[in-house]
């Protein structure tokens, strides 16, 4: 269902990015991954930027992340997508440089703390696009 959702500008889905934008259909936040380096590559690229091999495979991440930074946006930029809303950069737990710009939902702006644990939730949109948003997650005890 998309009827109750706010307007959003959506991505153009291509063969190169479909794993990312449509992985949410199966509840998975997917990235390209280089098996040789054990490294996720994002945004999608033809080769691993470390070893330059072209054999990248799609792999699901945990969807667990930490809040790297954020802003509470008050300015209307996009007609139909009304402020205030929280824009964030999150870092996936798998890899320090595996980052996304996203929205944090289900959290009062005053409760946002850089470093707080988050988990992905998908917003199903037109064109079979599933936008990865993030919500607060329980703190995982350090091993």
């Amino acid at each position: 269902m998309t009827g109750a959702l706010p307007f959003r500008l959506l991505p153009e889905v291509t063969p190169e990015n479909a794993h990312f934008w449509r992985g949410g259909a199966e509840g998975e936040l997917r990235f390209l991954h280089c098996a040789a380096c054990d490294r996720f590559v994002h945004p999608p690229a033809p080769r691993c930027p470390s070893c330059l091999r072209a054999e990248l495979a799609v792999r699901a991440s945990s969807g667990r992340a930490r809040l790297h930074t954020f802003t509470v946006n008050h300015q209307p930029w996009i007609p139909g997508f009304d402020p205030p809303y929280v824009v964030a950069i999150v870092e996936l737990e798998e890899q320090p440089d595996l980052r996304l710009t996203t929205n944090v939902v289900g959290c009062a702006p005053e409760a946002l703390r850089i470093g707080m644990p988050l988990r992905v939730v998908f917003e199903a949109r037109e064109d079979d696009v599933f936008l990865p948003l993030f919500e607060p997650a329980p703190e995982v005890a350090a091993p």
Binding site: R8, L9, L10, P11, E12, T14, N17, H42, P43, H68, T69, F70, T71, V72, N73, H74, Q75, P76, W77, I78, P79, F81, P83, Y85, V87, A88, I89, D97, R99, L100, T101, T102, N103, I114, D127, V129, L131, L133
Partner: protein
């Protein structure tokens, strides 16, 4: 190390500067503004247009999705002035706005040109004013789809550099304890300087209370952290030093330029979001000179958003990493009579978004001792100007002959 290389930019000097009318919603043809600035710069150099054999600009003819961002391209200016050129370049993929200036220095050092005319024109105030600023993505009958790098930000409402840079500032606040009360001084100090600049847009006093009470744009940025769109054009003549000696003004020489980028060219994938590409440009610039930050008499640093100027101060070594907030707090150090006068024309926050070129213009005016009421005392000899933020950044170190 880079130091072993030839420092080609030392063959180049700024010999002429020019500026059109600068203002809000002038309603003038941006090409006309451009020619005003270009002819003023040629005249200021004591040259004739027949002497100009190179032309360089940022961002070149360009209009997609950014009304008023480019006022003229290379071809329009060449044709309007019927210039006969040996070399020209215009484009967006540069180390910030000063990439076009570094290109001119490189062309001169390579012997491709002797007198390069550089220009940057904006008419965002007129183009976006009067309700003419369409919302992002409202074209294409609602079928707009974001592609390229924008696909990673637009779906989440991260539709402006204000949002992207606000997140960098927030990270800096978190890591280093920087506060809005500190950041404010980029804006407050600029406004004090603008009061002495008859061409500035905002000249009324601005207090910390005004700043803290202003509406938020994207936290931690309020209205006064964001520069003001204007119409206006700025131009320079950059000449080979051998051709600069007998011109109207003593040349202002390039001691070093910085054009490097080492991290990922991205607003959100950059390795350390408490700094920017300007980090690498600044390091490169210092690697090409024996001068040190303590030799610099004044700094003209891009403040399209206040936090960018703070980043430039740290990257250029005027304070330690993370110490930009305490450095600017209170405004004493960055005042006209401070240890490092900053944005002496008012910056883009108060003097208008001339998009980088205004800082180089002001640096030359100050080194000439021609800044009137806002002149930095003590006959300044060395100035730094830096432009750009996020993944774009370039800087120049200038000396008075």
């Amino acid at each position: 190390m880079t130091r072993a290389r030839e420092i080609g930019e030392r063959k180049a000097a700024v010999t002429g500067i020019g500026q059109s009318r600068v203002g809000r919603r002038l309603g003038l043809d941006p090409l006309a503004l451009t020619l005003d600035a270009c002819l003023a710069a040629i005249e200021d150099a004591g040259l004739r247009r027949e002497d100009i054999d190179g032309l360089s600009t940022y961002p070149g003819a360009f209009s997609a999705g950014a009304p008023g961002f480019s006022g003229a391209g290379v071809a329009e200016v060449q044709d309007a002035l019927r210039l006969e050129l040996d070399w020209y370049a215009g484009g967006l993929e540069h180390p910030g706005q000063f990439g076009s200036v570094a290109n001119a220095c490189a062309a001169i050092a390579a012997g491709l040109a002797r007198h390069v005319l550089c220009f940057r024109t904006v008419w965002e105030s007129t183009a976006q004013g009067g309700g003419r600023r369409a919302g992002i993505g409202t074209g294409a009958g609602g079928r707009f789809r974001a592609s390229g790098s924008l696909q990673w930000t637009l779906p989440f409402g991260a539709a402006s550099a204000a949002v992207w840079i606000a997140m960098m500032a927030q990270r800096h606040f978190h890591v280093y304890g920087t506060t809005r009360e500190q950041l404010a001084w980029i804006a407050l100090s600029g406004r004090r300087h603008a009061a002495l600049n008859p061409n500035a847009i905002f000249r009324d006093p601005l207090t910390l209370e005004d700043y803290l009470a202003a509406r938020m744009i994207s936290t931690p940025f309020c209205l006064y952290d964001c520069d003001v769109p204007v119409d206006g054009s700025t131009a320079f003549v950059i000449s080979h030093v051998d051709a600069a000696r007998d011109l109207r003004h003593p040349p202002v020489r390039f001691e070093a330029v910085g054009t490097a980028i080492r991290g990922r060219p991205s607003w959100d994938q950059w390795d350390d979001l408490t700094t920017m590409a300007l980090r690498d440009a600044a390091a490169m610039m210092w690697s090409r000179t024996d001068l040190r930050p303590s030799d610099v008499d004044l700094a003209e640093l891009y403040d399209g958003f206040s936090f960018i100027a703070l980043c430039w101060l740290e990257a250029l070594g005027f304070c330690e990493r993370g110490e930009g907030g305490p450095f600017v707090e209170g405004g004493t150090r960055i005042a006209l009579d401070g240890v490092l006068p900053l944005n002496t024309q008012g910056g883009q926050l108060s003097a208008g978004r001339l998009h980088g070129y205004g800082f180089l213009h002001e640096a030359v005016v100050q080194l000439r001792g021609a800044a009137g009421a806002r002149q930095v005392p003590g006959r300044p000899e060395v100035a730094v100007a830096g432009a750009g933020g996020g993944p774009l950044g370039g800087c120049v170190l200038l000396t008075r002959s």
